[in-house]
């Protein structure tokens, strides 16, 4: 079945440590891929997106993500996490040839001092 999977419901990292949030999809070989962030009490904001070209994309707030076609993955990374990064992160996909955006279940990030 077609799906967007974020296998980690929540992750806790120490401030200053590196971060990787996982996302796998099953919507064809070349979907459009996105990461959104929802900070407490705020709306969703786009972090970054991948359409084509360089498989490593840079986003806002120091985040990056790498598209790996062979693994159907689009993992989000940050080299050094700040306390303000505590939020919920959603991976999203627009399937190949389609227009509807499908979201994963989200990963809640906790940052400890």
């Amino acid at each position: 079945a077609q799906s967007v999977t974020q296998p980690d419901i929540h992750i806790t990292v120490s401030e200053g440590a590196s971060l990787e949030l996982r996302c796998n999809y099953s919507y064809g070989a070349t979907p459009y891929l996105f990461w959104y962030v929802q900070s407490p009490g705020q709306g969703l904001q786009l972090l970054l997106k991948y359409f084509s070209g360089d498989t490593l994309v840079q986003g806002i707030k120091g985040f990056e993500a790498e598209f790996k076609r062979s693994q159907s993955s689009f993992n989000l990374r940050k080299p050094s996490v700040h306390w303000s990064d505590a939020a919920e992160y959603f991976c999203a996909v627009v399937p190949e040839g389609g227009f509807k955006t499908i979201f994963g279940a989200g990963t809640r990030l906790f940052v400890k001092a």
């Binding site: 459009y32 996105f34 709306g43 969703l44 997106k49 227009f99 509807k100 955006t101 979201f103």
Partner: protein, 115 residues
């Protein structure tokens, strides 16, 4: 407007009442989505409008839920005979749609509480 506007921001209603939630998308955006986010849950797709095409209603959880989009702009999500399990934040998003970047711009949401 500058962003996606939703109203009301908060709605408390009694079980069995009907409610209407409004979304005013960014001007020029042809695509409009409604999602539902329950406490601690992800985004549940409800309905998708793209231009003048028939909406994709595949995510509506029951026939108590319906949505309209008038003139390709403002949308109203209606929930009839509300139930306690309908309590959630209802998010609206718009995008440029076909040929656009695909980025969704979200409103702040309408928090619905059914007593």
């Amino acid at each position: 407007g500058a962003g996606v506007s939703q109203s009301p921001s908060n709605k408390v209603t009694e079980k069995g009442k009907d409610v209407e939630l409004r979304c005013d998308p960014i001007s020029g955006h042809t695509a409009l989505y409604w999602y539902r986010q329950s406490l601690g849950q992800g985004l549940e797709f409800l309905i998708y409008f793209q231009g003048n095409s028939a909406p994709d209603k595949s995510g509506l959880p029951s026939d108590r839920f319906s949505a309209e989009r008038t003139g390709g702009s403002v949308s109203t999500l209606t929930i009839q005979r509300t139930q306690q399990e309908d309590s959630a934040v209802y998010l609206c998003a718009s995008s440029l749609g076909a040929g656009g970047s695909g980025e969704l711009f979200f409103g702040e949401g309408s928090r619905l509480t059914v007593l």
